[in-house]
Symmetry: D2
């Protein structure tokens, strides 16, 4: 059977190279071209020696990738995808954007948090927010997928079923998230300088100022049917991969812990990539890093009447490249876990 | 001047050896004896090679240490200190207990969380909770100091001034704490097995079941004058040392962020070991690990009307051995930072 | 097509669980049974939560696994495999032993280094040393494979072609190896206790006393045709996975660096799992960890006339479970990289 | 007593800030001024928050520091110290240079490895190589100290006594060194980017091309009385601090392991900062990091007739700032361990 011609725009960033690693072993597709503004003309295996012996791809420019592929992954800094997506869609190609350009439905929110307007307002109507387990049917029909952010994925998967079924209160949700350093990308900074992030943990963007907030609130608000305000504090932890979101919320009156637990189990029963951890066990990132899985443990604090959820994903996989490939699989009608069958190593 | 004869009971655990390391360079004291049940008879420098060339102390038994010292540090598993403290005090010696035996004033709480009763009820009246910056005057007069737990220290230093001045609400306080692996001690366990804790973060004792909860609530309740219930979730992070407590609470009506900030600054203005981080900066553990310092950053989330505090200490120093020596300095009338003058390394 | 029934004896150690993780996605085989002496009767997914949702296998005993499978992986402490292999082979089953029981051809060497004699001397004649790239033809025909040790694999792959072609001197070879902590297994010890191995590097078994020495010398001696003596120093480094062997040796007269380099390139040109790094680049473990690959960089010190080789593998994959599956693929006539197609992540 | 006025040129690099941290608690000196080209005008505590509450020093320019201090520490990139030292010495000030400008006695070697000539040839006659335990008497009399490099310190302390007493052969010495990431400084680079150095070990400058080689050979040659050629391979390991040099050499005929061991013990018997590890134990960096100590373990490989030395230091302390302060103490006649009394933490 003929393979799908896929291309990666921005292949030498961390998200781009993770996409390439996975797509090279996905047997429905052929990576026909990749681009990189920093390494144009170079063999990708000279930039990333883990690929030595596995590919002869060279970094080209955006136009060449557009030309050579039918489905495009955009792994670019925020603000650079809209233009390319517009061109690609006009040519009948499919686009999966791993940046933020298409994530927010409300242009005002986008303007407020990103400081710019949409270039092509109508293009956004063709896009869908690619949280696979929630929007699967829409994803099948859309030419542009806004691949969700890493923190938002870990949070929305845990809270959506509870909000949708009105099992928890919409007010007072507090989310304390912890992310590995790859979340900050390959760009050099003191924050990611080994001696400063090693043996450290640092909260950042404390106080309601992280750009993932509107995306999280959009997901939760849709699930509940009303606007929701959250408190969200991200922390940088000294690991390469993984996100843990510890989520504090309150059960509605007459709702038991068991009801909440069972609802989560039922929601994800037939899902390949989301697992509810058995009662009495606690999720930790080690169980999911290097896989496309999300695990969620559910706890109840009787003394304070709080429901506590621990939701873990690999920020580069279910939080980025893995979910993007899952989206492609859904769009193209492949088996949903194609190319994503690998299990998390135990260590 | 004659040096104070000090002894360490339980010198080969992590808290004990950290005490020894510090006391060996404290020039008001002489460590006259140390005990260890596991390594009795051995040179301590053969157990801990970092001490090679610095001491010829041998591990003895408890009785020998009791005999040879006038001030005793007890670094023992919970439940073993009361008996020894009773004997020591009867002989006119001073005791600083780094376990939990004397931390809770309410015997019922102790029984509930630790599953046993006090052996010597009246002994507890002679003890004081050694949170130095809060109880300094009482510490001066007491023969038994209950050295605070690591999480409680990080939390009480941040919240006590705010509660005391009624700047925040007593309800709805949520504390999400992260601790380095030394907090679990030297005892072998899968939790501390390198391949399982490295590249991992794991919440544990989620849902109001960690034994530090009654200690935290005791401190906060005293500060506020009423009983307080908190939500507390500890996490294990892959660093050796350091605790970060991210604390979520709500300002009282008519109280501004500035008022809260200024109150913290004023409270700790003359304190050597507690610093409020300048506005706009965020505390991280790297700034305090390997020092006896606590740093607290203060943030306000306008969107959600929440005050967020990030409080960091070294769990082995301000959270254990460092505060114990600070307590000794207060008890004995030494300069409070004697033996604790070292600054945190930048990396 | 009917799948091969495979079993794992010793599935809950690190090597065993890594085998299981890989075999669960190998589409020529079905894991029919696993055993564990410590966790008999338990669901493996309760012991290793990374498997949650991927298998319902329970830990059984050795006899049950022997019964239910046609090919057995033995992932046991040294000394326990011979008996089981004997039984298995008698029943016409194939065995891949990941311990040391069948690695040494000379019983006297085995006795000297392991302190015991062979139980079944003739059984050893049926086994072959499973260094895939060197012994491929023998592996195809043998019912028992002695899967090589991790250090020996990294070393023999680098030195075999050079010794075989007499490009380097057999004397004066010095090997300084560095291994991640999973190499020490899941058994608890202070060496693997997080606070003691984190932020540390420790040489161990210095001075010609590591049990991998006779295995290394056997491989090198066979390649050269004469007995070889090496100096070998292993070090423990604070990473989960990966081995780097830095190898110092001397070119023979009239042999150029280019000749040595080209010989290595030619030897491994058609091999999927061994790559010689381009001149001017240096191998590091990050390029191979979490893959079955070996990368070797080749350097020449003109000032001292020494050839220096840096050989890297993942100790759990090419150094254990990965090579074992590669051996199975060779034995069974599957594509050699079946189940091992995944690339090393870039981070 | 009046304190010595000291200044640091280049205070915001890693070596500079480590000097400042130590000097702030050294009670014979006052840090009167510090400079930084990147952060001129800023409070140092805003650049390095670990100093919050400990100093109000601002970063000034070089001239101001020259003006305000009587002893200068130069913590600059190679090539920038000579000019400043010339000015300082002309004004009667003392200089401790932590760069390479004064380390090599042979200008031709300097030119060969650093690509430039001396600016002030005669100035170099006033300088001495500050390996404290070896050159103590010369250090006392010299106005300029060339503070040794980190790798050279770890190596020269181990080999000098053996070469001086002709216990080992001068030929065939191979040194395999491993260094923590702070050795690469605060400058941003992919090599020190957390996701690339974490879970990795990488050899670098393999094949006789590291600039520390002439410095090492100068030390060893002086000890032996003849020119010496070594093989030296540095590796980057994922720890913040610490150097381990694993050294392979050969005993001279008629020299026993005991003789070598005893000579090392005797040489360092009265030294505060160098300890020979008891026979049967092995040095690891954890025992010395965060102290000014060097520990050396000595091993014999009978099979191959090789002496193996494992020498460990903290690269930022005994390998840089610590030894610099030790040099100052010697120059000024202070107790040699003044300001350096702290012990290495056990974890």
């Amino acid at each position: 059977m003929k393979k799908l011609r896929v291309g990666i725009i921005g292949a030498t960033g961390y998200v781009g190279i993770e996409l390439l690693r996975l797509l090279l072993t996905h047997n429905e597709v052929e990576v026909t071209a990749i681009s990189s503004s920093s390494f144009e003309g170079m063999n990708i295996a000279d930039v990333y020696p883990n690929l030595l012996g596995y590919t002869n791809l060279k970094c080209e420019n955006t136009d060449e990738v557009l030309e050579k592929s039918d489905l495009l992954f955009l792994a670019l800094p925020h603000g650079l995808s809209e233009e390319i997506a517009n061109t690609a869609v006009a040519k009948g190609k499919k686009v999966i954007d791993l940046g933020a350009d298409f994530r927010l439905e409300d242009e005002k929110e986008y303007e407020k948090w990103y400081g710019k307007k949409y270039l092509y307002g109508s293009l956004h109507e063709k896009s869908v927010y690619g949280l696979c387990e929630v929007n699967r049917e829409l994803i099948k029909k859309s030419p542009i997928i806004a691949n969700p952010g890493c923190f938002p994925t870990s949070i929305a998967l845990a809270l959506t079923p509870l909000l949708k079924h009105k099992l928890i209160k919409k007010d007072g949700i507090i989310i304390d998230s912890k992310s590995g350093v790859t979340g900050a990308g390959r760009g050099l900074s003191l924050t990611s300088h080994y001696p400063e992030s090693n043996e450290n943990i640092s909260p950042y963007k404390v106080g309601g100022v992280h750009r993932h907030i509107p995306e999280i609130e959009q997901s939760l608000g849709k699930a509940y049917g009303e606007e929701i305000r959250i408190v969200f504090t991200p922390h940088l932890i000294p690991v390469n991969r993984g996100i843990l979101s510890t989520i504090y919320c309150e059960l509605n009156e007459e709702v038991s812990y068991e009801k909440a637990y069972d609802t989560l189990v039922e929601t994800y029963e037939s899902e390949k990539f989301v697992n509810i951890v058995p009662k009495g066990q606690t999720a930790s990132i080690k169980s999911v890093t290097l896989s496309n899985n999300c695990q969620i443990s559910v706890h109840f604090d009787e003394r304070a009447n709080k429901l506590i959820l621990c939701s873990v994903i690999d920020n580069m996989l279910k939080g980025a490249a893995g979910q993007a490939i899952q989206n492609m699989n859904i769009m193209m009608g492949y088996e949903e876990n194609k190319g994503l069958e690998f299990l998390a190593p135990a260590f």
